[in-house]
Every structure is written in structure tokens, then in C-alpha cells.
């Protein structure tokens, strides 16, 4: 195990088998050496691998983009709205009308007759599984994706 230690510091004579190694090869030379090991198709493989890696992130981590908003009233589905265009929706409940605002990719409860306004203050919902519940007026707004990653998200 002790052999070779002195060679690292350069204090020992160069091994006779490598007369060309006058000095440590520069970083550029080393890079060239390694690059020669890659054939043209290898770059293709590496590129495809990188594309595969990059493609897997959104595929695995988005759990399906937010695609629609499910509005429930009194436990029944009142409406399923595509999160593609801007629109507002009025949902009747025992206390009055809850107003749902939909924008591309997100939705929120814009107004609610409930006393504490929790669902209104929750703001925009954009991820699949997020839900705002206006309990006093028996209205809920939930974001759904293609596949539901979670049963529900709460904060």
C-alpha cells in the first residue's frame, strides 16, 4: 500500500515506461483523452438519456396538471369546469350564493356568504387535489387533474 505515495508528490524518479509524460497532462489534454472514448452514437445515447431524464420529471411529479375544477353543493357535484378559460360560476346554497372564479389553470372562491370566509381567504387553487370548503354554505371547490395524486390537500 505504501508504494506510489512518493510519486504523487513527484519526488521519485519517473517510471521508465512513460518517457513522454514530462509533466502532468493539462486539463484540456485530459478532456481530449476522455472524449476520444466517446463514439458519435454515444453522444446520441447520452442525448436521448438526458431527454428521458428531463421528460420523466414532469411526467412523474406533476401528477397530471390541474385540468378541471369540481364544484360540489350539498355533497352533490354541482359542476365540473374546465380550467381552460376565464369564467365565474354562482352556486346556490342555504345561506346564499357562493361565487367561484375560474382562470386558466386555477380557480378560487371569489365570494361566499359564510361568516368566517375561510374558503375565500384560501385564495387561488392550482394543484390537483387542493380543495376549498365553504362549510356554512355547503359548497366545496376542488381541483382535479387527469390522475388524482392525493385524496385531498389541506394546509
Amino acid at each position: 500500500m505504501a508504494c506510489g505515495c512518493c510519486c504523487v508528490t513527484g519526488s521519485c524518479p519517473m517510471p521508465p515506461s512513460e518517457p513522454a509524460a514530462t509533466a502532468a497532462p493539462s486539463l484540456g489534454q485530459r478532456w481530449q483523452e476522455w472524449r476520444h472514448l466517446l463514439r458519435p452514437g454515444d453522444w446520441l445515447t447520452l442525448g436521448l438519456g438526458a431527454v428521458l431524464c428531463a421528460g420523466l420529471f414532469p411526467l412523474a411529479w406533476q401528477g397530471g396538471a390541474a385540468e378541471k375544477a369540481v364544484v360540489r353543493s350539498g355533497g352533490q357535484v354541482f359542476a365540473e369546469v374546465d380550467l381552460k378559460q376565464r369564467r365565474t360560476l354562482e352556486v346556490p346554497g342555504p345561506l346564499g350564493r357562493t361565487v367561484i372564479a375560474v382562470e386558466p389553470g386555477r380557480a378560487r372562491v371569489a365570494a361566499d356568504p359564510g361568516p368566517r370566509q375561510y374558503c375565500v381567504r384560501q385564495g387561488w387553487l392550482a394543484r390537483p387535489g387542493e380543495i376549498a370548503i365553504c362549510a356554512p354554505n355547503h359548497v366545496s371547490l376542488q381541483i382535479a387533474g387527469r390522475t388524482s395524486a392525493y385524496d385531498s390537500l389541506s394546509y
Binding site: W34, H36, L37, L38, R39, P40, G41, D42, L44, T45, L46, G49, A50, L52, C53, L56, F57, L59, A60, W61
Partner: protein, 191 residues
């Protein structure tokens, strides 16, 4: 019971004839086992992400001795490596066996790629991805039957790309220095 009788008994011990091929595979498998022990000693941030240094041996054997020898070396490495690490028949053993199987199958297909264009790095990256795919599918089917497993897929894929490239480069480096006998015979004009 005379001494000569016991001698005769001893001589009746089954002797399996060993070919040079067997010795070579055993030697290479030993090298692979050593590397997989080093692999196991390296701490990793995520369970399942390992450099897979033993695959360097697989790649070299594949290039020099063919797919059959590579399969033997890999199989022996998985078996003996798991015995040494105390993982035999534990989940980790099945994971590495599945990964080895998938990567060997992928290598069996990928080695028919034109060698002029695709070198050890391509083979290594393809094998690494196959290895990862096999493991994640087994994990999904058996160990963690929930789609949440796939959340780790991007990280595993990145690790496969990185370590596949590094291992492939190391294997290519070994393969680019031809054996003394080969250097004289096979590549006289190559500079």
C-alpha cells in the same frame, strides 16, 4: 479398513474438470464482487442509488468474452455479493437480481448496435437505464405496491445517466488499452 482403502475412497471424490474459461469467469466475477462490496460501502443520499461499479467488469467481459460470459460473471456477482453482504434472499437481493437481469437483456440487444458508432458508453447507459427500470418495476409490483414509487423515477433516471456514463467511460478506457496479445495481432495499424 486399510490405509490403501481410505486412499481409494479419497480418490473417489468427485472432481469437476475446470476449463480455462471457468477460471477466467471466476477471476472476473471475483473482481466484480470486490467492486460491488466497494459499492455497498459508499454512502448514498437515496436508497437504491448506487454507482454500480461492478458493471464496469460486466461491460469489459461483454466486449472481450461475449454475452454468455458476461451473464455468468453478473449472476455470480449478484449471488456471491449478496451472500457476503448478508442480503441473500432479502429484498435487496431480488432488486439487484432483477436489475442485473434487465440490464443483461438490454445489453444482449444493444451489443448488436454498430460498434463503429456505439461504444461502451452507450452500452453502459442503456444497461443502467434498464437496470433502473427493472428495479422500479419490481418495487412497484412487489415491495411498494403504490404509484408513489414512480415519484423517484426521475431521480433514479438521472443517477442512471450519470453513473452509466462514468462507468462506461471507465470501461472504455480499459478497453482502449488493448491486451498485449491483441495489440500485436488485432490492431497493428491503429494508432
Amino acid at each position: 479398513m486399510t490405509p490403501s482403502a481410505t486412499d481409494a475412497d479419497c480418490r473417489r471424490v468427485l472432481r469437476i474438470p475446470l476449463s480455462a474459461e471457468d477460471h477466467r469467469i471466476a477471476r472476473l466475477a471475483a473482481a466484480a464482487i470486490g467492486l460491488s462490496l466497494i459499492d455497498a460501502a459508499i454512502p448514498t443520499p437515496l436508497p437504491g442509488v448506487k454507482p454500480g461499479l461492478a458493471n464496469i467488469v460486466t461491460l469489459i467481459v461483454l466486449a472481450r468474452c461475449g454475452w454468455r460470459a458476461a451473464a455468468w460473471v453478473t449472476g455470480l456477482r449478484v449471488l456471491a455479493g449478496s451472500l457476503l453482504l448478508g442480503q441473500f434472499l432479502a429484498p435487496g437481493f431480488f432488486l439487484s437480481a432483477t436489475g442485473a437481469l434487465f440490464s443483461l437483456l438490454a445489453l444482449g440487444a444493444a451489443r448488436h448496435l454498430p460498434g463503429r458508432w456505439f461504444g461502451p458508453v452507450s452500452l453502459s447507459v442503456i444497461a443502467a437505464f434498464a437496470h433502473m427500470a427493472g428495479q422500479i418495476l419490481l418495487a412497484r409490483a412487489w415491495l411498494i405496491p403504490h404509484d408513489g414509487v414512480f415519484l423517484l423515477a426521475p431521480l433514479f433516471a438521472c443517477a442512471a445517466l450519470f453513473f452509466g456514463t462514468v462507468n462506461g467511460l471507465v470501461a472504455a478506457r480499459f478497453l482502449s488499452t488493448p491486451l498485449a496479445a491483441e495489440a500485436a495481432a488485432a490492431e497493428p495499424a491503429h494508432v
